[in-house]
């Protein structure tokens, strides 16, 4: 085995995995609180990629070239707008369906996903979009010929992902808002009786999830540089896989699942076959669900009879 390739794949895997983890948070939180797969979440991430590109284009148009400034402004703008998307989607397509048959919100979510994809496709065209490289530069490890590299963007990506995960964990574990979220997750009815505005908490969860997807979108776009209107679908399913792998409903699980999935996918495409890396990820999903449906860190479900 060539160690520099292994090293490179692990670095790429870590970067990819942090992204999956960030997006998985949105799935895991929503599933935890209203027991629904937010099918449109992947497309929210896709929207954030577009907003990142638009933001960078506008800022560059005004002659701003400081990388730090560019990245911070883009992050803020993207988080705000994408959170607004998350909030509106919940408001329009899921909230009225709180007490309807089980399949209704799921189908509604698929509808939203189709709408978002097609809205972007019609407005922005089907072509692949790209952003310029903002933060060039790499750290190199190894000899002249056998080396692996970590780009500055990858470092930024991993640092920002972990920082935002830490922040989110802090919010959920330590703040009053987080306590309310956990209460609603445990027992929505009882939480409502105790005076928690469950609708507001559910909205908040959607906003938090969307914000995480927004961060992921900015980082991915800066890292890979190109995207199109359909990226949300595949990435969404993989992030969901990460959420399930880590144990749905668990925040650290989402991050752990993301990193495991990212690493194994990256190793698979480095050492086995690139064409089948998606097949590999999906097969992993099927296998996890069959053999360990509660995931690595999740609690086993007890059926209510």
């Amino acid at each position: 085995m060539e160690f520099h390739i292994l090293g490179q794949q692990l670095v790429n895997g870590l970067a990819l995995g942090s992204i999956y983890g960030l997006i998985a948070v949105g799935y895991t939180m929503v599933y935890g609180i209203i027991g629904m797969i937010n099918f449109a979440h992947g497309d929210v991430y896709m929207i954030s990629a577009y907003i990142t590109a638009i933001c960078i284009a506008i800022l560059s148009f005004f002659g701003i070239s400081s990388a730090a400034f560019l990245i911070i402004i883009t992050l803020i703008v993207t988080i705000v707008i994408v959170s607004l998307y998350g909030w509106s989607i919940e408001r329009i397509a899921y909230k009225p369906l709180r007490n309807s048959p089980r399949l209704a919100p799921l189908i509604s979510a698929i509808g939203v996903s189709l709408v978002l994809q097609n809205y972007v496709q019609v407005s922005q065209g089907a072509k692949t979009q790209a952003v310029p490289t903002i933060l060039p530069g790499v750290f190199r490890f190894g000899t002249e010929t056998d080396f692996f590299q970590i780009t500055y963007i990858q470092v930024l990506l991993v640092v920002v992902s972990f920082a935002s995960m830490a922040l989110l964990t802090y919010i959920i574990q330590k703040t009053s808002l987080g306590r309310q979220c956990r209460a609603v997750q445990q027992d929505p009815k009882m939480a409502a009786i105790l005076g928690i505005n469950t609708d507001r908490i559910i909205s908040t969860v959607f906003i938090l999830g969307a914000a995480m997807a927004a961060i992921a979108g900015v980082l991915v776009t800066l890292n890979y540089g190109s995207f199109d209107f359909s990226v949300g679908f595949i990435t969404g399913v993989k992030a969901f896989t990460a959420a399930v792998l880590g144990g749905i409903g668990s925040l650290p699980g989402a991050m752990l699942g993301g990193i495991i999935l990212g690493m194994s996918e990256s190793l698979f495409s480095g050492f086995v076959n690139t064409d089948y890396k998606d097949v590999f990820a999906f097969s992993l999903l099927v296998l996890v669900l069959i053999f360990r449906p509660s995931g690595l860190l999740g609690k086993p479900l007890v059926e209510k009879v």
Binding site: A57, A93, S108, I110, Y276
Partner: protein, 428 residues
Amino acid sequence: MFSKPNDPPMLTAFKDSSLVGMIALLIFSPISGIILNGYGFNTHPQTPIMLAFIVFIGRFAYQLAALTPWGQRLIQKFMLSKGKRGVYVASPGDQRYLWIILAILFIAGLVLPFYLSKYYLTVAILALIYVLLGLGLNIVVGLAGLLDLGFVAFYAVGAYTFALGSQYWGLGFWSAIPLAAAFAALLGGILGFPVLRMHGDYLAIVTLGFGEIIRLVLNNWMSFTGGPNGAKAAEPSLFGLEFTRTAKTDGHIPFHEFFGTTYSPNTKFIFIYLVVFLVACLMIFFFSRLRTMPMGRAWEALREDEIACRSLGMNHVTIKLSAFMMGAMTGGIGGVFFAAQQGGFVNPTSFTFFESALILAIVVLGGMGSVVGVVVAALVLTILPEMLRDFADYRVLIFGILMVFMMLWKPRGFLPIRRPYFTKEGQA
């Protein structure tokens, strides 16, 4: 937000609608107002402003309507219709004359292809294929209540069974139908058995993953499936008669030579149409009857309450599996016809997730569980887009909006569900 408690209601409505309009503007602006162009951008401010204005007007009209008594009544009526279950028990003999309507429709369906141009023939065949697919998925989603988002996998398996089967083993059209059905059902069984015992929504995502796996394999296994270039299936034939100008297979004779008529490219499509039509009719009969048989009853019971079913000694896994396999089988049959309709040529781009979503839209708009509804929805959703070519770009957008709207408004479909009426002698 910025309305005060003692504002006149009109002003409150206006302020509220303005706020909603502003949010809409903020949401629409970046994507539809600023169009990326390389690393730069072009601005189209009129699009988001127009969209936001539509939202504002809609909201304002709603708010104003809510102020008037008739508007309130309308909203109340809407809320009531939403809450209604839309299930009724048949009264004995209420379908006495149904068979006359069915007979007329059947004959009309048989005669129709002889009056269609080649283009409309292919559209009609496609519509009937979607009727088949809709019926198949309807069993899984509508009756058994299992959300299958990878239904297209079985459709693809059917099409590729025919195409690859005729490429490698000389499989013909007629033998492909049962073989594809059996193969798709088998695959459904192998996938379903481990997956169906797990809880609820996970099934949706696993089937979605499975659908993608199948498509990716078809796309990447160049040496066997031909990859993105696709595969070619045999020409359909009837008792050794082919519908091409000259026979493609040894021992076959072209149809027009045998009957001494002139060659018409339509003949092949009329033939395919008639076969699909008859198969679709058979399936409609099959599934309507199934609903009142023990198996169909068990599916619906399972959708209503799985735990109760288990307490009654029903093996929920095998019952779900039977629905899943039955749906897969129908999807497989649909695939064979699709391959034939495409002039025998299939490639993986026909089997994307969008296709699954379209079939799901048919089932949802048809009212999940209603055979008539599914047939109507399949015909409308395939024929209408062909008629409205100008809106082709917005097709998916409209489907998506319809799906959300349908769930908000009538999650059980437009047609009420009819339950059978029983007397001591049997079903009336």
